[in-house]
């Protein structure tokens, strides 16, 4: 058992010091009829590193990795190239195997990184303050709704039809238990966002309006007027960004007046990972709202010799102090994913992020134009970043499966989210990142044409 340093000689000597006859005797407080005195039957016994690796590799081979196929999936998780140095740095043991930095004198590495991360996220989102991360975008979105409830003392949220359906489900689940009102309608297949219609809905009971940018259909819209309408009614505007690379090309939500900007940071540094662990981003435009924020915050201070240093701060908001009155029950953040995001952001810098975004948009424009030439296919979006919706003449769920059968991962069927027979299932959301080649686009067009024929 390669992970256990004690030898039988050690164990005997230690039991001697303790004055116990055996390790089993140390479990004397467990009632005898409930204590298992041998390994649970039917489960395998210990295995060598080689054997475990072999077993896991066999399982991994039963999957089609994104790198091994023309790949166009997005809808809340995006495949970008992650520079090799990102994965090297997050595997440094001093980051990988450290705990939450509760002893700041010996955790300045993690703390300074978190301070830099918070600063990077705030700038990306056009906000004043970001926290040290949340579990993922969907839970950050729900936390934003509850935070807006605390700030406005109103418990009604209006969700855009373009909000990711998993984020909507998450909010609906939580709202049902916590007594928030949720106003939401399924999306219609139009080229425009519903921002204007949302502005008309805001009233004196609205705590917040939640929009996604770009939205689940890849649409983008100016939220300035919606922000104004929210503020006039005393409500907050929450903007959700599931593809942060977009903000290398698009005006930030903070610049347009969004009060809380949350997001999924997976696209930068973290990778696809079959859905997790991901990285929740959470920022506020007005620093006066900081005390209503959930999650950990890292702040600057000085040590006893006057040297600059960093600590976790404003902890009285959190569960370990406030207990049942905390702003959230969140404890863990996504520290290592935040590190990956931050390293990737540092490698890119503004210049690199703008270039990355431009490359994504360039390829997406090419793909949209090419795919719209496939007979029977029309492109829905006027404006988009790296993801757009195609309307096809059949149920896209089957189309996606058929394309997968031909080795092409051709997009996400909206029917997967909205299987209600109202026409939404005849559409396909296609994401195009810098990892896509011209050959991939051509292959998707050909396969689409073949499957539709």
């Amino acid at each position: 058992m390669r992970y256990l340093p004690l030898t039988d000689t050690d164990r005997a000597a230690m039991l001697d010091v303790i004055g116990a006859p055996s390790i089993d005797a140390l479990f004397a407080d467990v009632p005898a009829d409930l204590y298992l005195d041998k390994p649970i039957e039917g489960l395998p016994l210990h295995a060598s590193e080689m054997a475990v690796e072999r077993h896991m590799r066999a399982l991994s081979k039963q999957n089609l990795a994104a790198a091994d196929a023309p790949f166009f999936l997005g809808a809340g998780a995006y495949r970008h190239h992650v520079p090799a140095s990102v994965d090297h740095l997050i595997q440094r043991g001093e980051f990988l195997t450290a705990y939450t930095p509760y002893q700041p004198e010996i955790a300045q590495g993690t703390l300074q990184m978190l301070f830099e991360f918070q600063s990077q996220v705030a700038r990306l989102f056009g906000c004043a303050v970001a926290n040290a991360s949340m579990y993922d975008g969907s839970t950050a979105c729900w936390e934003a709704i509850t935070m807006a409830g605390r700030v406005t003392k109103r418990r009604k949220a209006i969700l855009s039809c373009g909000l990711h359906p998993h984020y909507v489900s998450t909010a609906q689940t939580m709202a049902r238990f916590e007594g928030h009102g949720i106003d939401y309608a399924l999306p219609t297949l139009t080229a425009e966002t519903d921002f204007a219609a949302l502005a008309d809905k805001v009233d004196g009971e609205t705590g917040c309006v939640v929009v996604q940018y770009p939205d689940i259909l890849g649409r983008i819209g100016d939220m300035t007027a919606l922000a104004d309408a929210c503020h006039a009614a005393g409500a907050l505007l929450v903007a959700v960004v599931t593809e942060p690379v977009a903000l290398g090309a698009l005006k930030s939500p903070g610049e347009m007046g969004a009060d809380i900007v949350v997001g999924e940071g997976q696209a930068l540094g973290v990778g696809l990972q079959f859905g997790g662990p991901y990285l929740g981003l959470f920022a506020v435009r007005d620093p006066r709202h900081v005390r209503q924020m959930p999650g950990r915050l890292c702040g600057e201070t000085v040590d006893a010799e006057g040297k600059r240093g960093f600590v976790l701060t404003l902890s009285t908001r959190e569960q370990h102090i406030r207990r049942e009155k905390a702003t959230s029950n969140i404890c863990t953040n996504a520290g290592l994913c935040a590190l990956a995001f931050s390293v990737h952001m540092t490698l890119l810098g503004e210049k690199g992020l703008r270039a990355l975004a431009a490359e994504n948009h360039r390829l997406a424009c090419l793909a949209a134009d090419r795919l719209a030439q496939v007979p029977g296919v029309t492109a829905l979006n006027e404006a988009f970043f790296n993801e757009f919706t195609l309307v096809v003449p059949c149920d896209a769920r089957q189309l996606v499966r058929d394309m997968a059968g031909k080795g092409v991962l051709g997009g996400v069927s909206l029917g997967k989210f909205y299987p209600d027979g109202q026409g939404r299932e005849n559409s396909l959301v296609v994401a195009v990142t810098e990892t896509v080649t011209a050959e991939d686009i051509e292959c998707l067009a050909a396969t689409l044409q073949e499957c539709l024929a």
């Binding site: 991994s60 270039a355 997968a404």
Partner: protein, 540 residues
């Protein structure tokens, strides 16, 4: 918000303060201990450490066709390629001040930062309740296999059968090790798992038309317990503890009634003790029509030796980073699967994996008929896959026999520390019998003016990470020491030597303890200043 104390020295500027050993350097570096400025102070918006294959500008909003780059162009009819970008006039024109570094500078920046951290790879990290055990590198290797790490969560099921197989295989282990009926795999961390368990209980109560309002939580509980109960819409009441540091069964029974939805109990509890009367507690709770939630943060102490299902538990989250060695990563990511009893399984959240003759299916919202009573979705996608692969690699490595040895050695190590230190450190429950995986001490016996904090900071100077301080709240000046099974006897002996020496100084009232740590990258930090004048982002 103003920056605190602008005279505070920072890396990259001259006149660093003299070190506590009297040695002065102009850079502030001290040999291998290298100071590092913020990336905002050394980077700029013109530098990047990433290259792209094609020209780097975005076509303007009006005129100028899309940049087709230097790569090959799809064979589209070029007359139908539209001009201009498609950003709808929302181009980000203002600079947003994001600094970049070249690759060598980036590697050096983060490597230097990393060296200011203590970590389990550097030495014993005896944080009680947090369980800092060795993170096997096989787990990292496995998690990075492209067949796991490079999968999109919305790929067709036929292309991810192996990934769903991992979830199913890990689920089987968790269910077998806990003796429960099933498991919800999607919660993202321990506290999220608590929320999952409590929402499952609430859904089950609502299904029988029972609107109970109260959740009972012992005073010694983790802060997440009452926060979770409140987050799920319940009123929280405390259960008192006995003088032996365990739940007061009589007081609990007296409080149980038709308004109590659930009792949240940590077992082994946060005092490092096994709740001997757990079965009686569960029986009483069930008799009152309520459910038992067990905080599984300390499951690592009993894995392979006690099955929570046998104790009458209805729901328990398992922190994969505690019991099953996934890395803490400086504060996450976590993963908190929740095992559930037969009574609660129908109400488990979406999505979940179902095994059929043809392979694995993923049941989501649109499959209403397959899960009519599920309380719904708690997060996007299907859980912390990257943690599942690591945890499964760990579990397979140890196997049923090794996991039993894991809990045995963890408890042995903790008792060894308890018995070797209890003559110089007060052990409030030491006389009641063996502890579980963590040894609890208090500050009783310290000289006036010396606090638990001082002892903890002095451990830093000796090269150890301190234990958990001031938790649980029920013990004054608490010190909770959890060595885990991953420490050798030699490491424990050295740690004990240091701990005993500092404890004796604390008893003697050694004033110099207030100055500790003196040898760490930073001295004690001014947390009051940080909270009074919060600076939470770089403002240069």
């Amino acid at each position: 918000m103003n920056a605190p104390n602008m005279s505070g020295w920072k890396p990259g500027t001259p006149q660093a303060p003299e070190g506590s050993d009297g040695v002065h350097t102009v850079t502030g570096n001290r040999g291998l201990m290298l100071e590092e400025p913020l990336v905002f102070e050394i980077g700029n918006t013109e530098t990047t450490g990433v290259d792209f294959p094609s020209p780097l500008t975005l076509a303007g909003g009006a005129g100028g066709g899309p940049d087709t780059g230097s790569g090959s162009t799809p064979t589209a009819d070029s007359s139908r390629v539209r001009e201009g970008n498609r950003l709808g006039g929302l181009d980000r024109s203002e600079s947003f001040g994001l600094p970049g570094l070249s690759e060598p500078e980036t590697v050096r920046h983060y490597t230097r930062l990393s060296r200011q951290n203590y970590a389990i790879d550097c030495g014993i990290f005896p944080l009680g309740s947090c369980t800092m055990k060795h993170n096997p590198r096989l787990n990292e290797k496995v998690a990075r296999m492209p067949g796991f790490s490079d999968l999109h969560p919305l790929q067709p099921e036929s292309t991810v059968q192996g990934a769903l197989g991992v979830i199913d295989e890990l689920a089987h282990w968790l269910v077998s090790l806990t003796g429960m009926a099933g498991v919800a795999m999607s919660p993202k961390a321990g506290a999220h798992g608590e929320l999952c368990g409590i929402l499952t209980i609430r859904a089950a109560l609502e299904a029988r038309g029972d609107a109970r309002q109260v959740i009972l939580v012992p005073e010694s509980a983790h802060g997440t317990n009452p926060a979770t109960a409140a987050f799920a819409g319940y009123a929280v009441e405390n259960i008192p503890a006995t003088a032996e540091g365990r739940v007061d069964l009589a007081a609990l029974e007296a409080r149980l009634g038709p308004d109590v939805a659930a009792v949240m109990i940590t077992n082994p509890n946060t005092c490092g003790l096994f709740e001997r009367e757990m079965k009686a507690i569960s029986d009483a709770v069930h008799a009152a029509g309520a459910f038992v939630y067990c905080d599984g943060a300390n499951f690592n102490a009993v894995v392979g030796r006690v099955r929570p299902g046998d104790l009458g538990v209805d729901a328990m989250h398992i922190n994969l980073h505690k019991t099953f060695s996934t890395p803490h990563g400086g504060g996450g990511p976590g993963s908190g699967p929740v095992v559930l009893s037969e009574a609660l399984m129908p109400f488990a959240p979406l999505p979940f994996v179902r095994k059929t003759d043809a392979g694995f299916d993923l049941i989501e919202e649109e499959d209403d008929a397959a899960a009519p009573q599920s309380f719904g979705r708690m997060a996007a996608f299907h859980g912390q896959m990257g943690m599942f692969t690591r945890a499964l690699a760990y579990i397979l490595s140890h196997g049923a026999d090794g996991l039993r040895q894991v809990s045995g050695d963890a408890v042995l190590n903790a008792n060894y520390i308890l018995r070797r230190c209890e003559d110089v450190l007060d052990a409030p429950f030491g006389a009641t019998g063996p502890c579980m995986h963590e040894a609890l001490f208090s500050d009783a016996g310290f000289a006036e003016g010396v606090a638990t904090l001082d002892l903890a900071k002095a451990l830093i100077d000796e090269g150890f990470h301190p234990m958990t301080m001031y938790f649980p709240l029920v013990v004054h000046g608490a010190m909770l020491v959890e060595p885990t099974e991953c420490e050798s006897k030699a490491t424990l002996d050295q740690f004990i030597m240091a701990l005993r020496s500092i404890a004796e100084r604390a008893r003697a009232g050694d004033e110099s303890l207030h100055q500790a740590p003196q040898l760490a990258p930073r001295r004690r930090l001014d947390e009051t200043l940080a909270a009074r004048r919060p600076v939470l982002a770089w403002e240069g």
